[in-house]
Amino acid sequence: MAGLSRLGGGRDDVFNYQPLNPNRSPLADLAGLLATADVGLLGRLAGEVEPVDRPRPIGEPVPIGERLPIAEHVAERLPAERFERAVLAEAVVADHLAATVGRADRAVLEGLTPLLILPPRKQLVLLHSWTFECQEGASFQELCAGLDVGLFGEVRATPAPVMTDTGHLALQLTDRAGSTQLAWYRGPLVPWPLTRDARGPYHSADQCRRISPETGLEDIAYAAAFEVGRLLAAADARLAQELMRWRRRTFRRAVLLDVRRDLRVALNLALDPALIDRLAPRIAERVAGSLLRPGRPFSDPFELGITRAAEGLQPDLLARAWRLASPDQAAQLLGASRVPEAGGVVPGVFERPALSAQLEVERGLLTRLASAWIGAIESMDLRRER
């Protein structure tokens, strides 16, 4: 209440305050004044600060003890008439100053007591004091410092549980027969890095049971893990459905691929004899044609000479073997005619253009048929027969 006395010996009607904006609260006006560097104005209201001629730039540091000049333009906005009443609230003003005025003006507060002037009907709640009880009894830092730090498996309590140095804990196990026995168990948390078991996958919990030869007891750690996984998954209805759907999808796909493969095998068998029979002369014909083309150097690039030297293709030999009148007759039987350019005998079967054209048509048909079949198989969806 020191500020009140400075204001003029306890007078309660110093200024008549006119709000700058009738729609805003006087408190907002005051905050605005504080935000525009007007501690000096407050000082003037308190009768502490004398106006100076030279305005000091806002934000310039104020040495401790020096009084702050008035911001004239702001001061003019407040009519210097009488107030009905003035109420002081030191703490609130100090907060406003800290929030709005900033670092430069903290010093000013040393020299003067700021005022908050309120209309009479406003009341201010001030949290004067409060008590609370901290049950945890320690701060974050103290709790951290008090932590018992160690690797998993370290036990400081006594009596300690029965454990091996591999981290296995002796537990009572009730087996299927209903009898109780000791068994080793170790959870997934271990104090050392372990090698990952590459012998999986396992298909039942019993597959994961181990006998420890050192102690003669059973190690049920992995069997327990298997059961936990199985029970958790079985508890999730959607997972079970998804699992079945996944299996069914892969089965169906695999079956479809199998059927396609078998069909291909079957189709190839049906096509083979026809193709082989018809294609052999076709290939031979192409070889002969390329050989007989004019202008080529004499050679035997396709080993036609060897073919011609075959006994079954020698008119002389044939004539003798079949007791024909002449080799020409044998050559005619072979279907050959003399080709002047090559100067040799070529079996006539190679010179049947009509057959060749027919072959082309047939081969094309067969190819189209085969590809149509394969296409049909590929696009076939498999339905299980009932």
Binding site: A225, G229, A254, D262
Partner: protein, 368 residues
């Protein structure tokens, strides 16, 4: 050549039941459904596993303790095997899983990295199916798929480590900041620094199992684990000095960092004045005056070595900053000088290392 002109679907299916080799794992049809993959990946990180299976004896995790561990990969693989055993009613399913298991485990090795992202988006495991969470940026694509593609770097999963913390820390500061680093760092390192970030291990899981128990899993073996008080805006306060009851304030530079001399040591702290009455109420005015007295340069050779000259409200606030405390766990030395752990009564490991025993076991196997 034996001729098999045609095969019926029934016949093919029967053949398939008997065939040991199944559909190639790379076929698109063999891909795991998203829900299943997400479920199994959660399982890999022990999500949903009852606490008694993790800590079979309460003495393994007493009050106010932290226990570091490696994750036993075989154990988590068996969890997945068990989950896949649902509906395995015959040899057909067994043969199927036997053929697909390697691919399934390989997929999960990568998917488990996306679990934390999923857990942070959903309100908890089982509350919402993870793949129901839609990715707002990519309509039609689940958040799970987005996360998976983001976290999938193609490399296989390595060692997983972590810790269990049972303390009032967890209940009092539920959002405690936990980070692990592959190398030891300076005391006041900046976690946002890219060089520091590159050393940070991926956090695979960070979850409260109960109000006072926290589990954390990291990918890799950390050399430094940091527990940091959660950041809730700017905090002010004073702390008691070493072993004393008198609160102290260490001077700070105008950038907010603690002032240190050339050796990295802190200067003498400013003792915080208290109001009379023995109620531990700070006398703010006297504290400001005491800090003002310390404005003289602390090191004449270092022109920057002083607290800011102007002691306004902001500067006072700067001096009484109480940044979140950071607890470091590093090395293998126990600085707290706790009683040594009880030695287990049964020593099996030396036996396992015994060559004669190994030879006997090998002979037994041969006899089989």
């Amino acid at each position: 050549m034996s001729t098999k002109p045609w095969i019926s679907a029934d016949e093919a299916l029967r053949e398939r039941f008997k065939a040991a080799s199944q559909l190639d794992a790379s076929a698109p049809e063999a891909e795991l459904p998203p829900y299943m993959e997400s479920f199994l990946a959660h399982l890999r990180l022990l999500v949903g596993v009852p606490f008694q299976y993790l800590v079979p004896d309460p003495r393994l995790l007493p009050d106010e303790s932290i226990r570091f561990f490696y994750l036993d990969r075989s154990w988590t693989d068996r969890l997945v095997d068990g989950a896949m055993a649902v509906g395995q009613i015959g040899t057909r399913e067994q043969a199927h899983y036997h053929a697909q298991a390697a691919a399934v485990h390989g997929t999960l090795d990568r998917t488990e990295r996306a679990v934390r992202g999923l857990q942070r988006r959903t309100t908890g495991f089982g509350v919402k199916p993870p793949d129901a969470v839609r990715d707002a940026r990519r309509p039609g694509v689940s958040a799970f798929e987005t996360l998976k593609s983001k976290e999938d770097h193609g490399d296989q999963a390595g060692t997983v480590t972590g810790f269990l913390l049972r303390s009032a820390l967890v209940s009092g500061w539920p959002h405690v900041d936990v980070r692990a680093y592959s190398r030891t760092l300076e005391d006041d390192f900046d976690p946002g620094d890219p060089a520091v970030k590159s050393l940070q291990l991926r956090t695979l899981r960070l979850e409260r199992l109960s109000p006072a128990v926290l589990i954390a899993l990291f990918e890799g073996v950390p050399e430094l684990v940091v527990l940091e008080e959660p950041h809730h805006g700017v905090q002010f306060g004073v702390r008691r000095g070493q072993g004393g009851v008198v609160p102290q304030v260490y001077p700070r530079r105008d950038n907010g960092h603690l002032w240190r001399d050339g050796n990295g040591d802190l200067p003498a702290p400013v003792t915080v004045p208290l109001r009379p009455g023995g109620k531990n109420v700070v006398d703010v005015r006297a504290l400001r005056a005491a800090l003002h007295d310390r404005q003289t340069p602390m090191d004449p050779n270092d022109p920057d070595a002083h607290v800011p000259g102007q002691l306004g409200g902001a500067t006072l606030a700067l001096q009484v900053l109480a940044p979140p405390f950071r607890q470091r766990f590093e090395g293998t030395q126990d600085e707290a000088k706790e009683p040594p752990p009880v030695r287990p009564g049964l020593a099996v490991r030396p036996w396992l290392a015994d060559e004669r025993l190994r030879a006997r076991v090998a002979r037994l196997r041969e006899d089989d």
